[in-house]
Amino acid sequence: MKIVVTSVFVDDQEKALSFYTGTLDFEKKTDVPAGAYRWLTVVSPGDANGVELLLEPDQHPAVGPFKTALVEDGIPYTSFRVEDVQAEYDRLQRAGVRFTQPPVAMGPVTTAVFDDTCGNLIQIAQMH
């Protein structure tokens, strides 16, 4: 088995695509109709054949309370690796992204946590 796709629940696929590509700089990979929604994935820049992130509609009634509870406690839904967490923090803040945790050294990693505007907190982590 191989991990090919992982997902994040978003409240609006079009808004999510805009944020994940326009602000976070991911690249759109697949965008096909799937019922009332789209099979919509993005990939890391320069890694078109890498793991895809599915921007999955959060329509199921269980998802809302789940996301709300995580966000209230500041818990990120998933984590992305970055080369320089301070530089990303500065860049994203200038772009108007809201952070709930600034870069904090946590032993082998330095992490920060931001709001993806689609109902999730996302952690970015720099390995040392």
Binding site: T68, V71, E72, D73, G74, I75, P76, T100, Q101, P102, V104, A105, M106, G107, T111, V113
Partner: protein
């Protein structure tokens, strides 16, 4: 009603206060991460939550909701009573048993 001295007696709760002095206004997630990495405290999220509740009950901690987020802040005001009682010269003549 938990009292201030009981709140301060627990090393984990003192560590939480220290962590909030490192940076005031933290989410539960950030506090848990700091406690495990900076204070070598392996506490469950539930345990940290309980400690936070007790600290809030004695007034050493306040919580603030900002949109969908919840932040925790240090409030050292109750410590003033300790300083007043034992360190303030004007109160040095207090009788035993006074609070």
């Amino acid at each position: 009603m938990a009292d201030l001295y009981e709140a301060l007696a627990a090393p984990a709760r003192r560590a939480i206060l220290d962590a909030l002095r490192e940076r005031d206004g933290q989410t539960l997630f950030e506090l848990c991460a700091r406690l495990s990495m900076h204070y070598d405290l392996a506490l469950t999220r539930q345990a940290v939550s309980q400690h936070l509740g007790l600290l809030e009950a004695v007034g050493l901690l306040t919580t603030r909701r900002e949109g969908r987020y919840k932040y925790h802040h240090l409030d050292t005001t109750p410590l003033g009573a300790i300083v007043e009682r034992w360190l303030s010269p004007s109160r040095s003549t207090r009788q035993e048993g006074e609070t």
